[in-house]
Amino acid sequence: MQDRIDILMMLAPGLPLLGAILTAVLGPKLLRSQSHWPVIVGTIGALICSLLLLLHVADAQQAADLESPAGAAPYEHVVKLWTWMDIQNAYELGGTSHNFTIDIVLRLDALTAIMLCMVTLISSLVAIYSAGYMHGDRGYWRFFSYIGLFVFSMTMLVSASNFILLFVFWEAVGLCSYLLIGYWYEKPIAAAAGKKAFLVTRIGDFGFMLGLFLIWTTYGSLNYHDVYSDGAFSASTAAADATIAAQGVLSPSRIVENNYVLGGTALAICLLLMLGACGKSAQFPLHVWLPDAMEGPSPVSALIHAATMVTAGVYMVARCTPLYMASPTAQLVVAAIGAFTALLAGLIALTQFDLKRILAYSTISQLGYMFLGLGAGTLAGISAGMFHLFTHAFFKALLFLSAGSVMHAMGNVIDIRRFGGLRKLLPITYATFLVGCLALSGLPPFSGFWSKDAAIASIHDRVHALEHELEHRQAANQDEAHVPGSAAAALPAPLAALSVAQLSTYANVYQWLYYSAMFTAFLTAFYTFRAFLMTFHGELRVPHEAGDHAHEAPPSMYVPLVILAIFAAFAGLVLALSHSFDNFLLHAPSLALGWVTLTELPGKFHASVAAISILLALAGTIAACYLYLYERDQVSFLKRFFNFEWLNQVTEGAFVRLLKNWGPVAAIHNGAKRIGLGWLTALVGDIFLLLVLILSIPLLIGSYLSPYRLSFRKFYFDEIYNLLIVRPLRGIAQLFYWLDRNAVDGLVNACGYIPTRFGNLMRSLQMGLMPFYALAMVLGMIVLLAARMLWAN
């Protein structure tokens, strides 16, 4: 039984890898246009393995629950394939020396099982879709071998049981992302986008690496799991007399003791890991790469840049929950980054015209919601974040694949101004896109509603919990935490250690994050339906690139769409109402033990929060319908208004003339002229004009920074980064290049010059005269002899 599980755990990443290798080897010569088969078969095989593993985990968790009736019992299973590196006594910490041992270890727990199923399901559907979408592409086999490699890396990333392995596959998915964004590398813009994605995420990876170093020096281990002295990985399989040889960072034994450092170190670890997550999951300030990444093929956008890879950061933060529980400040930062990113991306998405970029910004925004949930720091919030990750994967993959279907029909045109009214032309895509939009907008009963609402509600609860604690302390007139045994519910120790002032600040910030998240919900519904209506409603307009044969996609493309639509529509409803997702997830060791169990449990349904968010989403939808269902003048009015175009009028000459000729002003001026004081009123008028001009300078700047422009130009992030980071770096690089060409090369050339000069001198002795040679020999000998004799004495 256990062996079967081990083999399944290896097959889940192994089959896609095998598929990728087969495609890479056989693709170019043998398989050609059939290159998708190994990868499709491999990912579907991986999906089957993942589902079997999921069932196994569910069974095992049930069995464990029966044994321990109190709360959710953690379940984890670790398999070691081989030892990668082993350095004895690498680091001394607190008097004991730690071995730097990195095993290739796979793990299985609730978190991993959910991620595995989600990743392999989406990958299988995307692989099938791609067989239709990429049909006839020049690098067909190349595409599928990259996809296979990506699925392997992603499944390994979620299966890894130590941080080094996590980091290795973290980089591997980054590499696959780079390769696939730049898949059409002949297009300079695609190549540049790939490079940008790679470099920006590298900044995050740098933080991630520092975080790992800090974990190593703090805990002396990089494993999640314990290693017992007899080599086993858990207490159940270890011998009775075996002791823990190396305690893992996220192992049940450590979590249950809450054996974590607090304070500045905890905060530093968490923030560095969060920096890594920001890079990978495109959160502010490292979100700039994701919209550009849409230059890759649409299936890639759906698979990597919406459903799976970008959620790696969320997965990692959820996995490291015990570390984050040690630092409430870090949790607040995570929540704040999430909420701010969600708002920022929502604002940018309002004015974009590139269908895939709108979806990319919505992805950034939804990832923000996930981090918001994780940042709530409660079981409810974390499970909401993971739940949103799960449902988002379906509806966002659905939206991207539907957008791909639109692109497919429109001859790769993606600007929503250039087509419209496609609902007749692409009925299936229309329906699936609509389902995706409803889910994204957070309208019940579609899946997005349940998960997003849970995330917002968890923040609401968090505010309540903090305020409740504050009231208690004020009532007891205490600045410190409750004394044990007092009436209020126990708080996690790091949170309880906060002072009243800190607690009230936290409560305020969380309150604002809650408002911001609510506002973002409105924005989400608005921009989603704006894009949807501009694409599918109104007059039928087809760009000339599409030719006259614009048609619905082939079955290989629309069947995955329909399957995804079913999931997007109902997955949230079923899982949320049955609470099976939460119940399952909370058995993961990171979530089942320790401080986190003291926090709010998921499962409460907040009618008030739900009502507000539904109302806001409906408002957004209706506003979008009003403005975009038929061509309305109000659209351009709003655009002008938010572009501050009325400000420009103030500074124009016509406005001045208008003012001059305005009745009362003209009357006074004329009256003054008559009594010979015309110069005075003219002077007053000029001074007034001058004042207006001076006053209008901020207005001019304001018009440049009008809300519309800010949104349309993406808040100038690219420009600012270009100015502050890219330009200075390029300048330094040019300086070094100059130094290298002139100083270093000059030195090297001098080194080459001296021997040749010396050689030339020596060469001139070689005059070809034999008597000279003989003389040189004899003279040389005499010199040596003389030197020898002098030396000897």
Binding site: G752, P755, T756, F758, G759, N760, M762, R763, L765, Q766, G768, M770, F772, Y773, A774, A776, M777, V778, L779, G780, M781, L784, L785, R788, M789, W791, A792
Partner: protein, 532 residues
């Protein structure tokens, strides 16, 4: 004593070679057939190799012939060089002169083998002349014309001068020790023992002449190995003769000269090593530097390889210097792995095959009518003869010391042996000198890469300028292939050769210990008398 039957058996390979060479000379006058005599010559080398394999490797120190690992390894090297040279030469010889050339090469190889196992000054000098005299004739007969005549004349006169200097040195040695035997055996005193007895700690009287002798010997043998300032002939002569002869000149005298230096300076004269290592070190640094910097300017490949062979002689003198320094200061005891003589032998093997290979490639591209030697003539070789270009590149990389080819390990062992002296020596006076030596060696290796790689870049990156199509000769390409295989195999797995080199090093170090009380018992001269 000389005609001891065991000695004759040990010298069986040399005897076979001389006998067959004589036969080839005589037979050639009756039946001028290049193919037949070439085949016979190759067979002779084969038979000699079998004889060497069967009888050559029994440790035996006779008064005249020394059979040890040093001699054994280098006899193999000389024999193989002779065979490779025969392969190179065979296809371009005229029928009339074929047997002469083949026999002469065979004699020169035999001479080298004799020097390698000579334990007596007379036999050593005989061996050296057995290399020189056939070489004069070879240089003359191989190629008609003024250039060859000039080269021959230069080599002839300068070689005679060097022989005279060498003999002069030998005579001093004889005068000092009263014997021509290098190392005595079983109570018989050789030069080694006599010198220790004579110097006995203070360099007075006759013993003060020992440094004079060593300088003269260095001068005489320095010509053979083309060390500065006795190197002037090399570029001129290499350029003026054929590729095969240049290969012979670059290889056989060098083996003989170096083994003679090891036998005399390291084994026979440890008593004055304190005088000799300075000399060797200065000559080494000068030789490698001047050889390399002059090679930078050459466009004629034979001339370039001439300078390169000078530079490599300098490298090999590092090994000699280390061995002498170890003798003088006893550092070799602590650092047994990287003895100077071992490094020298290793490098010598590596150098011989890479150089012979390079000349073989040139030889097989040349015809009697058209001589391929300049950089322009091999430009774009990759497009005409990819195999030749690849082989040449292998040899150039090996000579430059690029891993994973044999040359890399050669340089590594040499430099390591010198670094070993620096690391393990307890004598503060010796350390800076060897630091200079190592630094000079490393700098020179860097300089040398420039001209070797220029050949490679010309072959691969320049357009073809030599329009005449060449037909590579199978013999030449065979010789080059053999050399390439050796260079690559040693590069990948240097262990076997390393073991042999280490054994040679042991042999040089564990020469018979000195008999006690020699100095007090008998005076050198009377001891020599008594011995007879």
């Amino acid at each position: 004593m000389f005609a001891n039957s065991e000695t004759l058996i040990r010298l069986m390979p040399e005897i076979i070679l001389v006998a067959l060479a004589t036969w080839i000379f005589i037979g050639g006058t009756f039946w001028a057939n290049r193919a037949f005599w070439s085949t016979l010559a190759m067979l002779t080398y084969l038979v000699a190799a079998i004889a060497l394999y069967r009888h050559g490797n029994a440790p035996l120190v006779m008064s005249v012939v020394t059979i040890d690992y040093l001699g054994y390894t280098l006899r193999w090297l000389a024999l193989l060089s002779g065979a490779v040279l025969t392969l190179m030469a065979s296809y371009h010889l005229r029928d009339q002169l074929a047997s002469e050339a083949l026999g002469l090469i065979m004699l020169a190889a035999t001479g080298t083998m004799l020097v390698a196992c000579a334990g007596d000054l007379v036999l050593m000098f005989l061996g050296l002349e057995l290399i020189s005299i056939p070489t004069y004739v070879l240089l003359y007969v191989a190629r008609p014309g003024r250039e060859a005549a000039e080269a021959t004349a230069k080599y002839f006169f300068l070689s005679i001068l060097s022989s005279a200097l060498l003999l002069y040195g030998f005579s001093f040695l004889y005068g000092l020790a009263g014997t021509t035997t290098l190392v005595g055996e079983g109570g018989v005193l050789g030069i080694q023992q006599q010198l220790v007895g004579a110097t006995g700690g203070s360099a007075t009287g006759l013993a003060a002449l020992a440094p004079l002798a060593i300088v003269l010997i260095f001068a005489g043998l320095g010509f053979k190995i083309a060390a500065v300032p006795f190197h002037f002939y090399a570029p001129d002569v290499y350029q003026g003769t054929t590729n095969t002869n240049a290969g012979l000149l670059a290889v056989l005298p060098k083996i003989a000269g170096l083994v003679a230096l090891v036998r005399i300076a390291v084994i026979a004269m440890p008593a004055i090593a304190a005088y000799a290592w300075h000399l060797s070190l200065i000559i080494a640094v000068l030789t490698m530097t001047i050889g390399n910097v002059c090679a930078l300017w050459q466009t004629n490949l034979r001339r370039m390889l001439g300078y390169s062979s000078i530079a490599h002689a300098g490298y090999m003198l590092i090994g000699l210097t280390v061995a002498l320094g170890a003798n003088a200061f006893g550092s070799g005891e602590v650092n047994p792995g990287y003895g100077g003589v071992g490094a020298l032998v290793f490098y010598l093997v590596v150098y011989v095959f890479a150089t012979l290979g390079a000349f073989a490639v040139l030889a097989q591209l040349s015809t009697p009518e058209q001589d391929v030697a300049t950089l322009d003539e091999v430009a774009g070789l990759n497009k005409i003869h990819p195999t030749s270009a690849a082989l040449m590149a292998v040899f150039m990389f090996s000579l430059a010391g690029v891993p994973p080819l044999a040359g890399f390990w050669g340089k590594l062992t040499l430099f390591m042996s010198a670094v070993g002296v620096v690391t393990y020596s307890t004598n503060a006076a010796i350390t800076p000198w060897f630091v200079v030596l190592v630094v000079a060696g490393a700098l020179n290796a860097a300089i040398a890469a420039a001209y070797y790689l220029r050949v490679v870049s010309a072959m691969y990156f320049r357009p073809v300028t030599n329009a005449a199509p060449q037909v590579p000769s199978p013999g030449g390409i065979g010789a080059a292939l053999i050399c390439a295989v050796v260079v690559i195999v040693i590069g990948i797995s240097p262990r076997a050769l390393m073991t042999a080199a280490r054994a040679a090093d042991e042999a040089a170090r564990t020469a018979p210990s000195l008999p006690v009380n020699v100095a007090t018992d008998v005076s050198p001269a009377s001891a020599a008398m008594a011995q007879r």
